[in-house]
């Protein structure tokens, strides 16, 4: 009954073959990430120091540090999230908890999905038209942050909606049956249990926003600015644009400098991603049902 027939032996061989094949493909996909990181550390690691992080660039950006760019990126990302997270979470709560399932809601959902697919350079042009020119913010941190915010909005909405909907429907029904209003239900049951998921989505957005170049280069990021911005109506340098500039636009830059900038940028992103993974693990352990 359990003896190995020719058929079973063949199935086993084929199964082994596919297993190896799929594993190879997976390893192949991880390889680029490792190569990129190794190259950056090898070529740019030597330049990283506290001085590099916290001083201004000098000699036409061929020497010195990256502080204005680092500072600018933190500002841009923070402000962009301060705009997009409240708006996105509010919209997601409406779509998930209030909106009736009709053509209008479906249209909004479709628009959000399409907005997520709009290329970032198109967002940039929209930002120039809307914030720089129409609202007269000029090329400024505010205009750039708002452009980034518009770009991150669909992802915040989708991530929030999904984590709201991962809270079982039965919990809502139980609450409504007790005479709770929709808002009381959202406030006391749904939101507290979705908040870690929302944070995970937001942190992932931070890492994406950090690296974006196109949306900010016409709306508020400066080529070179030897001083820090004083208000959100000033321009600022940003890491992503700075990397583009020192890598391609300025002659006589030492080899290590662009690699160093890239290493700082990717480290910020990886740090954020690790935070998000840590959050997800925390979330799994906090499962309340």
């Amino acid at each position: 009954m359990f003896e190995e027939t020719e058929l079973i032996a063949r199935n086993k061989r084929i199964q082994g073959l596919y297993r190896t094949l799929l594993m190879m493909v997976t390893i192949l996909l991880v390889l680029p990430v490792l190569v990129i990181l190794a190259t950056l550390v090898y070529k740019g690691g030597s330049i990283i120091s506290m001085e590099f992080l916290f001083t201004d660039p000098v000699d036409g950006m061929t020497a010195g540090g990256i502080f204005p760019a680092l500072f600018g990126t933190v500002w841009l990302v923070t402000l962009a999230l301060l705009i997009s997270v409240p708006l996105g979470v509010a919209a997601a709560i409406y779509l998930s908890e209030y909106a009736a399932n009709n053509w209008f809601t479906r249209l909004i959902n479709l628009a959000i999905i399409n907005l997520a697919g709009v290329p970032s350079i198109v967002h940039a042009l929209f930002g120039v038209g809307a914030f720089v020119i129409f609202f007269k913010f000029g090329t400024s941190i505010l205009a750039a942050s708002m452009t980034l915010a518009i770009m991150t909005l669909p992802v915040v909405i989708v991530a929030t909606k999904e984590s709201l909907q991962s809270v079982p429907y039965a919990f809502r029904e139980a609450c409504w049956n007790m005479g709770a209003t929709r808002w009381q239900t959202v406030r006391r049951i749904v939101l507290p249990n979705a908040v870690s998921g929302i944070l995970t989505g937001v942190i992932l957005e931070v890492s994406r926003t950090t690296g974006e170049t196109a949306p900010i280069m016409f709306t508020g990021a400066a080529f070179f600015l030897p001083f820090l911005p004083e208000s959100i109506f000033d321009q600022t340098m940003a890491l992503s644009l700075h990397l583009f500039v020192v890598a391609t636009q300025v002659p006589g830059v030492p080899d290590a400098l662009p690699y160093g900038v890239a290493l700082v940028l990717i480290s910020m992103v990886l740090l954020m991603n690790s935070l998000s993974i840590a959050f997800r693990i925390y979330l799994r352990n906090q499962k309340k049902w």
């Binding site: 039965a170 919990f171 409504w176 049956n177 007790m178 005479g179 006391r188 309340k288």
Partner: protein
């Protein structure tokens, strides 16, 4: 339909000695808790309930039996107007709750807060045991700690759960066993201080011992509130219900004194067949 005023019930089977034995007395002045007139329910064109007309009396256990898809759960949803939360559910007809037309009510939340509901599968909200029971009072604006403590202890005690959880009120309610969660759900329903308690096949996910304990609880609660018991266990209706309605294919076939129905005293032969297990 058997007239509940004139029908008599020889063995009331009331286990609660404090409650008066005669049906007339227990029904508190024979007032109608619910008057359902020509109720119908459609889901996007499909009729799941039609022409349901019945009365539920104060302080009785009103059983509803019938096979799946008979419209029992839809019937319950209409009573506390949960249909507003269900897409495409249209309700026709009239329901009076304590004499008030529920479709004319401005404050539907107040209606729901007076009706406790227990679902087939226990729903332990992702809160602590304490907060599960304190939620309904909190929703009503009670925030005084002492008052909440009293409510929580009283409701858990009445749901026969207090002794098992009194030392871990701050652990998660959703981590209790199925039977305990169902009693937690009942405690939560009681914390609303309801006039009407609706149970929808509460014993599906509960072991027989717990089921018996809950049944004892229900018999005691009858003196304080009206109970509608939807059940797919015919014998459970016989054990608990004063009167029983038989639903079939979206119609209320008949309503009668439970004992009379079980003794074969039926108007429609299908009721007898269902009770005797010949179909369904």
């Amino acid at each position: 339909m058997v007239n509940p005023d004139t029908a008599t019930k020889p063995n009331a089977g009331n286990s609660n000695p404090a409650a008066p034995d005669s049906m007339e007395d227990r029904r508190g002045m024979n007032t109608r808790k619910l008057e359902v007139r020509d109720l119908s329910v459609h889901y996007s064109g499909n009729t799941v309930l039609s022409e349901v007309t019945l009365d539920v009396w104060e302080n009785e256990i009103f059983g509803i039996i019938g096979p799946a898809n008979a419209g029992k759960t839809s019937f319950l949803k209409c009573i506390n107007r949960m249909n507003t939360f269900t897409d495409n559910m249209e309700v026709g007809g009239q329901i009076l709750f304590s004499g008030m037309d529920i479709h004319q009510l401005k404050n539907v939340y107040a209606l729901r807060s007076r009706i406790g509901v227990v679902f087939p599968l226990p729903v332990g909200l992702p809160l602590t045991i304490y907060e599960n029971v304190a939620l309904a009072p909190r929703l009503k604006g009670i925030s005084d700690k002492t008052e909440l403590n009293i409510i929580v202890e009283r409701c858990l005690t009445r749901a026969a759960l207090w002794d098992e959880v009194k030392d871990r009120l701050n652990s998660l309610g959703s981590l209790l066993s199925g039977g305990q969660q169902q009693r937690l759900t009942i405690a939560r329903a009681l914390s609303q201080d309801p006039d009407l308690l609706m149970l929808d096949e509460f014993s599906i996910a509960v072991d027989p011992v717990t089921t018996m304990r809950i049944e004892e609880v229900l018999k005691e609660l009858r003196s304080e509130m009206t109970i509608i018991l939807v059940t797919n266990l015919v014998q459970q209706a016989r054990r608990l219900a004063d009167r029983t309605a038989f639903f079939l294919d979206g119609k209320c076939v008949e309503v009668g004194e439970t004992e009379a129905l079980f003794e074969g005293n039926v108007e429609d032969p299908r009721t007898r067949d269902y009770i005797e297990g010949k179909f369904g």
